[in-house]
């Protein structure tokens, strides 16, 4: 039984250290990457994998099922909410032109020439999908 606890402690320490290292890489990526989308790519690493690893480590170390279930709740919640908030932030970032277009490999939202008014030959691509049509009232 002592042997089992020692092994569990080593596994938990490995999970905690890997999660903390992922948080460091997130900070480095946030500082060094060029635009909002790539910073978000770096910043979401600890949000999913890092938090999952830290939660696994904490669930191994903590005794009692209530703590384990609550940690599982946090992990599931971060898995569910990370794509939602990333989608909303990146959509607004594209519309606000906080994206380095010259660094994009594929730009599927950009369907027209830059700077052309939207609405005549279809959407330019970076206006909101529910925007008022140009020339209309309002």
């Amino acid at each position: 039984m002592r042997m089992l606890e020692a092994v569990a402690d080593v596994v938990a320490a490995g999970c905690l250290l890997t999660g903390a290292f992922l948080c460091l890489t997130a900070g480095l990526g946030l500082l060094r990457f060029p635009d909002v989308l790539s910073r978000m790519h770096a910043g979401t690493k600890p949000q999913v994998l890092g938090v999952l690893l830290v939660m696994v480590g904490a669930a191994i170390r903590l005794h009692g099922w209530s703590a384990t279930w609550m940690l599982l709740l946090v992990a599931v919640f971060s898995l569910l909410t990370a794509p939602v908030s990333a989608h909303m932030i990146s959509r607004v970032a594209y519309r606000r032109r906080h994206v380095r277009r010259d660094l994009l490999v594929v730009d599927e939202l950009h369907t027209g020439a830059p700077g052309r008014p939207a609405g005549k030959d279809g959407p330019v691509g970076d206006e909101p999908a529910d925007a008022r049509p140009s020339g209309g009232p309002g």
Binding site: L28, V36, G43, Q47, G50, L62, S78, A93, R97, A118
Partner: protein
Amino acid sequence: MTVVSVLAYALLAAGAVLALVRLALGPSLLDRVVATDTLLVIISAGLAVYAALERDPTLVPVLVVVALLAFVGSVSIARYVGGMLLESATGDGRDVGLPVAAEEREGRS
């Protein structure tokens, strides 16, 4: 476990300081949103590391609250900026008070 705790706290603190630097530098509101999100995640990871190392389960409900808060904060700011874009007649939000986009200010787009 002392070595593990020192190492884990050092890594988390370095990540949090780097996220704070990005939060201060900007340049745009959405960069700050992403940095705040990452900072809250690092804080909750730090709380979980403390709970694990001290075998102290009293901090675990705080993790739920912090995770909820990070999601609600970033989504509400994104909705706010998107709503300002919908209000603006020029489409880029300049006429309703948003600053000029970072890519246009730096002359690369």
